[in-house]
Amino acid sequence: MTVLDPAATAIRLFDSERDLHFFPIRHHSPACALHLREALRAIRPATVLIEGPVDFEPLITELLAPGVVPPVAMVALPDGAKKGRGGTTYYPICRHSPEFIAIREASELGATVRFIDLPSRHAAMLSDRRHRPDQPLLPMREVMFDRGAYVDAMCARTGFRDGFALWDGLFEARARGTDWRGFFASVGAYCSALRAASDPDELQTDGTLPREAMMRACIQDAIAARTGPIAVVTGGFHTPALIDAQAESVRPAGAAARSNAWLIRYDFRALDRLNGYGAGLPLPGFYERVWQRLIGDGGETGDSLTEDILVGFRAHLIESEPALAFSFPTLRSMVETARRLAELRGLSEPGRTELFDALQSSAIKEEIEVGAHPLLAAFTTYLQGDRLGDLPPGSRLPPLIERARAEARSFGLSLEDAVAKTRELDIYRKSRHGQTSRFLHAMRLVAPPFAERLKGPDRVHGFRADMLMETWTYAWSPAVEAALIERAADGETVRDVAATILIRRLGDLEREGQCNNAAAAFNLLSIAFDAGIGSAADTLVAAVSTAVGADTNLLRLTNALVMGQALDSRAKAMQSDGTVKAFADLLPPLLDRLARRIAELLPDLAAVNADTVGEAIACLAALAEAMADPDPPFPARPLRDALQGLMAAQLDPQLTGAVIALAALIGLVDEAEAGRRLSAALAGAFERPGDAIRTLSGVMALAPQLFVNDSSVITAIDNLFGAVDDQGFLDLLPQLRMAFAELSPQETDKVAAIVAAAHGAGEDDIALLQQVPDARVLTDHLALSERLRGQWQADGLAAWLGPAP
């Protein structure tokens, strides 16, 4: 709502005497881009100096190659030797980035383009108060535009709600003007004020000052070698520190360092995520639309930008989230609201903030919880945009990406487009399919967006371990490349990086105090197996071995045993492959250790009580699964001995049942013996029918067939019911139901037939019972029979009750 007085700064920005012109910009600002384009066309500079890491200079040619479609990003990978000094450096470029426009215009004018910032991996570019060591690094960070005393004061005075709205209102709204000098003068004045209000200490610690020393030195060099006008395009925040550059031209130490820099495809979603780190204006999809309109691209429809966006958003909702879509009259009132808001706020046309306000005001007919509403979130995503950048075929790529692509192609995976494709793999019988599977598993670790397994053997529970085929979907997209870039510092091949990731996860386990978690460690090992990472096998096996020794949790150990067994059987099935062989050799000693450890801990189960019995039962179930193998890859003897000991001990009733069941399952006792023991346990508990039922449910959890096949057990249970009255039976009923839920319908029928036979009922009686609609009807009918019987007896008709003659 105010116009900055440009006079003071304007004179200094465009120094016609030295023919040196400063363009203070904000990254990704369409208004800056458009005015810059006009300015460069007017000035026709011979040299264009741009704030960009000097080691990215070689990428300028690549950026100008035909076939490059922004968003793309210049990236530099962290130096493997200096771990922990920041993540990957990103220099994202959109169509509407002033830097991109400057480079393009300069090339058309035949001017020289130089980058004048410190090298991307220079200490000053890394020294930044960061919370996470692998956070992305942005040479173009500009958080000072978003917060700070000056921004707050300006917002309070002008009525804009935050730094972004302030920028939009002051500068983006002036994009259509023709006076580029006035525009940049205003930006310059604004930025000088921002600069004046910022903390000098912070400028030193965040590396701003050394970077500006570098920029000044580069400007001096350019002046010395001048062949014509010079244009300097930098973040507006730096401009005030560059304008007065005179004698000083000492480059900071390390300014000549080079790094591995690459141009990669990028996408708007990733770009907007970087905004969390202060990368520039948010919602790149919105500003790209603004830019297209400014340069008259994308077909003049006669509609305003506001209409275009809101109509487009409505269509998008109808298609993808119909529940959120709003009506046409609402749309019309939204457009009107946006216009009036712009007018009220003194803007020539509605901007980003007005669109959000109009949406909120017109379309949301309910209370909004502190700014959050699904419709507003959907609009944010819509304006974020989903544009994917592109590079011409054959572009130079970082080694990890190159190798991943090459390897994928060597397995016959199609990478031509981003459409998801499906692949079936016969992993045991065809060695190439096995290799492909391992590659895809490794890619799951390194670049998760690439592939997903739809079907296949379950590694954790050994469930469907005998499954022969795997089904995968996969698609190569910029998101995959971005994920690979994130990992590029960890190694040059997919397998190396996957190994690093696994070792790191192992480290995470240790940090979380989980180094005694046998199941978690074994899980990592089985991932390594799936991905065929032989190099990590030794480390992981050692870690698992330690974990096994330290783990006192029987459930985790038995789960690990199940996993290990599944792994072993698959390793045997695949033995043809070399990397698999490494695992196949390492597994038996590990399983041996695991089995002995479990045997050592099994006697502890004697101390289990009713509260903890659930977990104990789960252990025994896992053990039953592992020991069902007639030729287990681990010594069964110690386990059997330990179980024998348990059978002799006084246990929780439920556990007693489970132990008997397990013993029968693994042939420690035969079924008849198990039946006897069970009947004895049940009979012994007749005074506490609740315990008897718990014993029964212990059996059911592991081996329901034991109960079904042995009528002596059923008889024992039946006797038990004889001992309780009706109320006692009702009390037991819930527990009984739970216990019997383990039976299949056929088994239930079988039990019913045995019980019925024991009580002298025939099959006909059961069939009759099955026709009774529900228990209440049965009760009513039984009561009626009883009354009739009493009546007949009272009437001396007892003879009628006997069988018909």
């Binding site: 609402t330 609201t337 808001l341 306000d357 005001s361 017109s362 949301i364 007919k365 309910e366 209370e367």
Partner: protein, 367 residues
């Protein structure tokens, strides 16, 4: 209705801020929407303040909300202010009406007892019997008056009106006409430019009715949230209490530290979290700024009439009980936990907090 300021407990907004409105009108260069007393920008200044014209800020928190509200009123839509009790919804609607129409007196005070007469029109039965249905016998509702005069009518607590009464507003807002069939086939009152409806509603309180979606469609909704900025809330409380005490010509010493204590306590309990992110259980009682003002006011009165004129932590502590216990016993437990853990800690370092602790504890023991 005649306004007799001196005798009114609380004069209307247009009376209280007559000078500011006059100053804004004199300086107003903007285009006025049809039927409006001021331009939209002048109304914005009236509510959000304009230091050049020494117009005080009256609504704190969300400036964009005020702008959206103004735009809604300029369009065909009504404006619906929703939110928890005590978030200044009614005040905002009063200010908007005063600045836009020059009068905030056309009000329907919503309750279950509201009948169609309050929203459409009624009759003077003596005249009706004597003369039959004539314009003279007709008693217009505030809504009808607003339509005739091109003003804003406020409907307070709209969701407390029975649904069939709420729905009278549907056709009024869309057709902008109210027919009076008793006066003849073509007898209708047409809305003059400037007519609009500002509703306030609570969508979640006990005893409120659902709004029909047809009615919702004719309103733009704005959610008024409690203040989250302690500095703003402090300023607001200080201003409001100063004004109330000034009117009654009472002078007390109200130290900043005491206001801070009040605001901190309210913000902590309202958010269910302290400034240092210690989680608390949130009481269900309404902890609005309006309640805080009431507490501060009562504390000041106690200090003035029963004490030596210095407001301290103890005064606030005694008044707090009144707000919390209003609703339920659960809340008392929650506040007790807050006092035992958080306040006790603070009391070690500050006299005001330890006075506060003492007062709250004394009350607890009694109860």
């Amino acid at each position: 209705m005649e306004q007799r300021n001196a005798l009114q407990l609380r004069p209307s907004a247009e009376a209280r801020f007559a000078d500011e409105l006059a100053a804004l009108k004199a300086a107003d260069q903007g285009r006025r929407p049809p039927g409006w007393a001021l331009s939209a920008r002048a109304v914005r200044s009236f509510i959000l303040g304009d230091s050049k014209l020494s117009v005080r800020r009256k609504f704190y928190g969300d400036d964009a909300l005020v702008e959206r509200a103004l735009v809604a009123l300029m369009s065909e839509q009504g404006l619906m202010l929703v939110g928890e009790p005590g978030t200044a919804k009614s005040m905002l609607s009063e200010l908007l009406a005063a600045a836009i129409s020059g009068s905030s007196m056309l009000v329907v005070q919503g309750s279950t007892g509201v009948t169609e007469d309050h929203v459409r029109y009624g009759w003077n039965y003596a005249l009706l019997i004597a003369e039959g249905p004539t314009p003279r016998a007709l008693v217009p509702s505030p809504v009808m008056e607003a339509m005739r005069l091109g003003r804003i009518v406020r409907v307070e607590e709209l969701t407390r009106c029975p649904p069939e009464i709420q729905d009278v507003l549907i056709s009024v807002l869309s057709e902008k006409v109210m027919s009076v069939p008793e006066l003849g086939e073509s007898a209708s009152v047409y809305a003059a430019p400037g007519f609009s409806v500002i509703g306030t509603a609570n969508l979640r309180d006990r005893g409120v009715h659902e709004m029909s979606s047809a009615l919702k469609r004719r309103f733009n909704f704005e959610t008024v949230l409690p203040l989250t900025d302690p500095a703003l809330e402090t300023e607001l409380i200080r201003q409001e209490v100063g004004k109330r005490l000034g009117q009654a010509e009472i002078a007390v010493n109200f130290p900043d530290e005491v206001t801070d204590l009040l605001v901190t306590t309210f913000q902590d309990l309202r958010r269910g979290q302290t400034k240092d992110n210690v989680p608390l259980s949130k009481p269900s009682a309404v902890m609005s700024t309006a309640e805080a003002v009431n507490i501060a006011h009562a504390a000041a009165l106690e200090a003035a009439f029963l004490g030596n004129g210095d407001v301290g932590g103890a005064h606030i502590g005694r008044q707090l009980q009144g707000v919390i216990v209003k609703d339920n016993a659960e809340d008392v437990k929650k506040v007790r936990a807050y006092v035992d853990h958080i306040v006790k800690e603070r009391a070690r370092r500050s006299k005001v907090w330890s006075d506060f602790l003492g007062a709250v504890k004394a009350m607890k023991d009694e109860s």
